[in-house]
């Protein structure tokens, strides 16, 4: 059967309202700043076969990961899923991302039959392993990256499995926070079940199923039309990852995109083998990375579902940096996967300048500061850094914006940090020293965030990418500037680092988290002199730099 367009619209509206409601409850009840500040979680509803039909996303990292993850669970349990079950998995090699991301999956049974599946994936602040936060930047094996729970029933017959809870509590550093998040996740999938039951009560299971199919099929149709509008051909791009956390060796990447009528192939053949360090991603995260940019291409504002991605094929041999397998570490998978996104983005930018900007600072530059707080209790402060985005064909890039891998991700309030942690922020402002890519439209500025440590024995680890290979410019625009994690020594000297573990800091020490500016778009000589004047007046462009980058800039002799 098919739904009528009115019922279709009403059911779609209810599905979106449901995933939104799951998201609101998750963000408001979580005890983990990674969730309530960074929104490092996502919620979704899938068909009984595991095709995503509605998703609430705080960030892009979970774009299209749900389908593979749920299908892998359906295969694993092969008919042994019962009403009253809730499943848990955090397996990076089965459609997941890294061990920190716990997926809670509720098969929704109505009148005894599987009608839909609700999922909530959330980043746990700590899941054990070698370092607080569970993601050592120099890990060489997944066994250093915390507890893995690949596919088990955390709830059976509506009863929480106390033994599993005991295992989790005993294997993570902050068990109360973990339990708070588990509670919140379970609450959200139960809400989804209640809302799906309301839809079925009103419209019937057959209508809901037909609505699911329509969502998938109609999205597929639109995606195919968008691809068909692109000129057929091969489009390639190259990039470099600046070190894997274990070695500083440049990792050279390539992609070939093939537009084949109404299909798109992204072929990563030729990318290097999985590295020793943890910036590898497994196949699920690669899919997600490519889907993120594919979605930006075909339908940036439309609600996400698996139908959009049917015309997309991702090709990559096993055991590469983007298709790592056990036991290769994946703790910092997004430091690798963002480059898969950027390769596809770079290959497409010239085809659709109305959809894409030039290269950005790209790396989340996630920073973990841990130690003992003023209250004598251990603390972990985790924050991604915001940075400069590239210019577009018709405007300057945006300053201080979160990287592609995240999304509705807030920077951490200085006042909140200082009230919670033994840290003082001494500067938070635009990274004018580093500068941006020049162009007819210039890149957006990165940021500088400087911390003074107030308590003894704090430890920092971080993974900053794009410390050498600069954000790419477009159409003659210049490259952006580099990211860096800088330690300011008491004598004023600066040590610059990228990916590192276990930097000890004591009172008086300062760290400076620097993000780069975005790439420019178009020939700098074509930049409007008034825009150069504005940047000079605002103090974001120095006269020296203007003279170097823009031939039309006013000189001191000719004010």
């Amino acid at each position: 059967m098919a739904t009528d367009p009115v019922t279709q619209e009403i059911i779609e509206g209810k599905l979106i309202a449901t995933v939104d409601e799951m998201g609101i409850v998750m963000a408001k009840t979580s005890m983990s700043p990674v969730i309530y500040e960074v929104l490092d979680f996502a919620c979704g509803i899938l068909t009984p076969k595991g095709d995503l039909v509605a998703q609430m996303n705080g960030i892009t990292l979970f774009t299209g990961t749900f389908g593979a993850q749920v299908k892998s669970l359906l295969r694993q349990f092969d008919g042994r899923i019962e009403p009253g079950d809730i499943l848990l998995t955090n397996d990076p090699y089965a459609g997941g991302t890294h061990a920190c991301d716990f997926a809670i999956v509720r098969p929704v049974f109505i009148d005894g039959s599987l009608t839909a599946i609700a999922i909530n994936v959330a980043h746990y602040l700590d899941v054990g392993g070698a370092v607080p936060g569970s993601v050592p930047p120099n890990a060489t094996s997944v066994f250093q990256e915390g507890l893995r729970l690949p596919g088990l029933k955390i709830v059976r017959g509506e009863r929480l499995n106390e033994e599993l809870i005991h295992i989790i509590r005993e294997n993570v550093r902050l068990p109360d926070i973990a339990m708070g998040d588990l509670n919140a996740q379970i609450a959200t999938v139960r809400i989804a079940e209640a809302r799906i039951a309301e839809i079925v009560a009103k419209y019937g299971a057959a209508t809901l199923s037909a609505a699911f199919h329509h969502i998938l099929d109609s999205s597929e149709r639109l995606a195919r039309a968008a691809i068909l509008a692109l000129p057929d051909g091969d489009y390639t791009a190259h990039d470099v990852i600046d070190g894997d956390g274990v070695s500083d060796v440049a990792i050279v990447l390539t992609v070939t995109l093939r537009v084949l009528g109404d299909r798109l192939e992204a072929d990563f053949t030729g990318c290097p083998p999985a590295t020793d360090g943890p910036i590898n991603c497994a196949r699920g995260a690669l899919q997600s990375a490519v889907k993120t940019v594919f979605k930006a291409l075909v339908a940036p504002q439309a609600p996400s579902n698996d139908g959009w991605f049917r015309p997309l094929t991702v090709i990559a041999p096993d055991d590469t940096i983007f298709t790592a397998r056990k036991p290769k570490p994946t703790g910092w998978y997004y430091e690798g996967s963002v480059h898969a996104s950027e390769l596809v983005w770079q290959a497409l930018a010239a085809l659709r300048p109305d959809r894409f900007s030039a290269g950005s600072y790209a790396s989340l530059c996630a920073t973990y500061i841990s130690g003992t707080g003023m209250d004598g209790l251990p603390f972990i402060h985790v924050e991604p850094q915001h940075g400069g985005w590239g210019a577009s064909a018709d405007w300057d890039g945006t300053a201080g914006l979160i990287a592609l891998t995240d999304g509705d991700t807030y920077n951490y309030s200085v006042e909140v940090i200082e009230a919670k942690f033994p840290l003082r922020v001494t500067r938070y402002g635009l990274n004018i020293e580093g500068g941006v890519g020049a162009g007819e439209y210039r890149g957006g500025y990165g940021l500088v965030r400087e911390y003074a440590v107030l308590a003894p024995g704090c430890v920092v680890h971080a993974s900053f990418g794009r410390t050498l290979t600069l954000p790419w410019g477009m159409a003659g625009g210049g490259p952006g500037s580099a990211n860096a994690m800088e330690r300011v020594l008491p004598d004023g000297r600066i040590e610059s680092r990228g990916r590192f573990t276990g930097l000890q800091l004591d009172p008086g020490d300062r760290v400076r988290l620097v993000t780069g500016g975005g790439g420019g778009w178009g020939d700098p000589a074509r930049r409007d002199p008034a825009a150069i004047q504005r940047d000079l007046r605002d103090g974001v462009l120095t006269a020296e730099r203007a003279a170097r980058e823009y031939p039309q800039a006013p000189t001191r002799d000719r004010p």
């Binding site: 009528d4 367009p5 892009t60 109609s218 940036p300 504002q301 201080g400 509705d408 402002g429 103090g539």
Partner: protein, 681 residues
């Protein structure tokens, strides 16, 4: 005396006046004068005077307007500078750096209201407890003041870190700048907000400074003009928190006026609830381009603790830390356009035909089918009597427009019109659920009050689907915001960020803090120590480790046990679970202070001349679901009998709205003239 309210909207300026002695009611509607809204206000008073209103007898005037919001949306505020702690000049520009439009890879953050060259840094620093790390260097202000003069700055905002817990440095800097810049408006962040989060507070103070000179000039023009008309009484401005403030108070915090129109409606809905003995009200206002809904609990509007201007699903917007009633707005109103989207689904809104060209049936050139066209097509409106006969409607044009979606849907125009209404109703229900279910409340416990020009036509249907206890159509639903302003009381909200783990001494200390806030409230109203002020005390509380808490009432006699039990209950209601072992923390204090004053009384209607025969004005065929064209009796609201149950289907007409009562519903009018619609069974 006469109580008068004027509500300046985008298109019309509404006036409602109530003579407390005679019970006479005055209404006027004139075009809004965009260049100076006070002219429209005076025009409305003149129009009401022509109907017999004596300006000299006006004893109370409440004013709601869009001066502040227009200055912001049109970026027509004054040239504004911002002074910050050294190292933090860019906070206002960085904002929170979030990218809610996830797949838009050309995303732009909101432009700051102060450009970088007008953002200045001063050496000073406090720590998170308010202790001085670096003393304030007042000399830094000398150059800043000179630069402001050079740049023609008219207003300066000040944002120092941690001023929410120690405002001393901000105060000193503000005093120094006031001396250096005597003709410039100076505004320090702690005067507007005592809450933490530096970006939100800096944006609040910057936007407040940006509009302050504008509103000061506007109110002084309005006062002079009113005085000239012989209106001599206290003037009040409608605030976004559902209460009113004197003009002088509003000038200090003009941002509190951002949502004054909608807040007027919410205040009115609360008043209707108390009249009906219903402490919980779910309120919906359906206007031309949007519908707004809000929940009133225990007779008090809920406040939105994270209000943002120009915010949407894909736009971060501008957060402001001022008390604004919690309103969920959706793009579904009378002018919302129905389309078949690329995926083959019927969509209604958010695009709107607005008032120009307006719905197709207005005959002003609009071709797209709208909700109003759908209502006209199924016969809800009398084309000759719409909006009191001022806007004649063209049924043919409405049907023609509806046909544009009927064809692709394979439906008759009537069935397609019903389909358009189905989708519009479903959108509104999702929004209504957002304010109730998603905030932990059950819509079935609340009275459902519906206003706005389009509201009464859809209200009974919405009420049925929400399973509301009863649907309530208040008096004057088409100018209900103005009516609500007559029901509002002077109100001030004091919110502060304040931390303590829950224990007996924390509760005692919180009460001491509340005493300080109480004293501020008493001073705010300026009616002396014995003024009749009602105080409601609540705290933001959470389980340790959570970021977001819940607002929970606190009582002077609370002990840890009694407070914790109440908190657990509120948490369950909001989030479905409680954590019994987890420690509880207090993170903020909230004092709501309301001055007990007389507000509009809902007089008993005079039964003389009323009755079923008197009110009956004819019949009209309405296309109803499963029934097709059905003859409905049409009644004039002004002549309806009191307390006489009337079974649907029925149409009730009045100058500003038409109510459609569905089959199997029963309408009753209360003795105060409120329409109640309940399911028959």
């Amino acid at each position: 005396m006469i109580r008068l309210a004027t509500d300046v909207g985008g298109t019309f300026t509404d006036l409602i006046g109530y003579d407390e002695v005679t019970g006479q009611l005055f209404q006027a509607k004139v075009l809004t004068t965009a260049h100076d809204q006070s002219e429209g206000v005076l025009g409305a008073i003149a129009a009401a005077s022509a109907l017999g209103l004596d300006p000299a007898r006006i004893g109370f005037l409440a004013h709601g307007g869009t001066t502040v919001i227009n200055a912001i949306t049109e970026r027509k505020g004054v040239r504004t500078a911002l002074v910050t702690t050294a190292g933090f000049r860019d906070i206002l520009e960085i904002g929170r750096g979030n990218r809610p439009d996830l797949y838009n890879l050309r995303f732009r953050s909101p432009e700051p209201f102060v450009p970088r060259h007008l953002r200045f840094e001063v050496r000073e620093r406090l720590d998170a407890k308010g202790g001085v790390v670096t003393p304030l260097v007042l000399e830094d202000l000398t150059d800043i003041a000179a630069a402001c003069l050079r740049e023609g700055v008219e207003a300066v905002g000040i944002l120092f870190l941690h001023s929410y817990c120690n405002p001393a440095h901000e105060r000193a800097a503000a005093a120094a700048l006031a001396v250096l810049l005597p003709s410039v408006t100076v505004c320090a962040s702690h005067e507007i907000s005592r809450e933490w989060r530096e970006y939100e507070r800096s944006n609040t103070v910057a936007m407040n400074a940006y509009v302050q000179p504008i509103i000061r000039r506007y109110f002084s023009r309005l006062k002079a003009a009113l005085a000239e008309q012989g209106v001599d009484c206290p003037y009040y401005a409608m605030q976004s928190n559902g209460g009113i403030a004197t003009f002088a108070q509003a000038i200090q915090r003009p941002l509190t006026l951002v949502e004054s129109g909608p807040a007027g409606g919410v205040a009115g809905a609360a008043r209707i609830g108390s009249e009906l003995g219903q402490a919980d009200v779910l309120y919906l206002d359906v206007g031309g381009t949007t519908a707004k809904c809000s929940l009133i609990r225990n007779g008090r509007p809920r406040l939105d603790t994270a209000y943002k201007m120009e915010h949407s699903r894909i736009a971060p917007g501008y957060p402001v830390q001022v008390p604004v009633v919690d309103i969920v707005e959706i793009g579904a109103g009378g002018g919302s356009i129905a389309t078949i989207d690329a995926r083959g689904a019927l969509r209604v809104g958010p695009q709107s035909a607005g008032s120009q060209p307006g719905p197709a049936c207005y005959g002003r050139g609009g071709m797209d089918p709208t909700v109003t066209d759908a209502l006209l097509t199924i016969g809800v409106y009398d084309p000759a009597a719409f909006s009191g006969g001022t806007v004649p409607l063209d049924t043919g044009l409405a049907r023609q427009a509806i046909t544009r979606v009927a064809g692709p849907l394979g439906l008759t125009p009537e069935a397609a019109a019903l389909a358009v209404l189905d989708v519009a109703v479903a959108n509104m229900i999702n929004a209504l659920k957002l304010v109730t279910v998603q905030r932990g409340h059950d819509p079935r416990d609340a009275a459902f009050v519906v206003s706005g020009g389009m509201g009464p036509a859809l209200g009974p249907r919405l009420g049925r689907e929400m399973q509301a206890r009863c649907t309530v159509i208040p008096p004057h639903p088409g100018i209900f915001s103005a009516w609500g302003m007559l029901a509002a009381r002077p109100r001030a909200d004091f919110r502060t960020t304040w931390f303590a783990p829950l224990d007996d001494s924390a509760l005692a200390e919180a009460m001491a803090q509340f005493d300080v806030l109480r004293a501020e409230a008493v001073a705010h109203f300026g009616r002396g120590d014995r003024a009749a002020i009602s105080f409601d005390l609540s705290v933001d509380a959470r389980y340790r480790g959570q970021e977001h808490g819940v607002l929970c009432e606190v009582r002077p006699d609370d002990a840890v046990g009694s407070f914790a039990e109440r908190f657990h209950g509120v948490h369950i209601q909001a989030y479905t679970f409680r954590l019994d072992g987890a420690p509880i923390e207090i993170t903020g204090l909230h004092l709501e202070a309301t001055l007990a004053t007389e507000t509009i009384s809902l007089g008993r209607v005079d039964p003389a001349g009323r009755g079923l025969a008197a009110s009956r004005k004819g019949k009209r065929a309405v296309w109803l679901r499963d029934q097709g064209w059905t003859t409905c009796v049409v009644h004039e609201r002004a002549l309806l009998p009191v307390a006489e149950p009337m079974p649907g289907p029925l149409l009730i007409e009045e100058p500003t709205a038409t109510t459609l009562v569905l089959p199997r519903q029963v309408l009753t009018m209360t003795e105060t003239g409120i329409l109640l619609i309940r399911e028959a069974d």
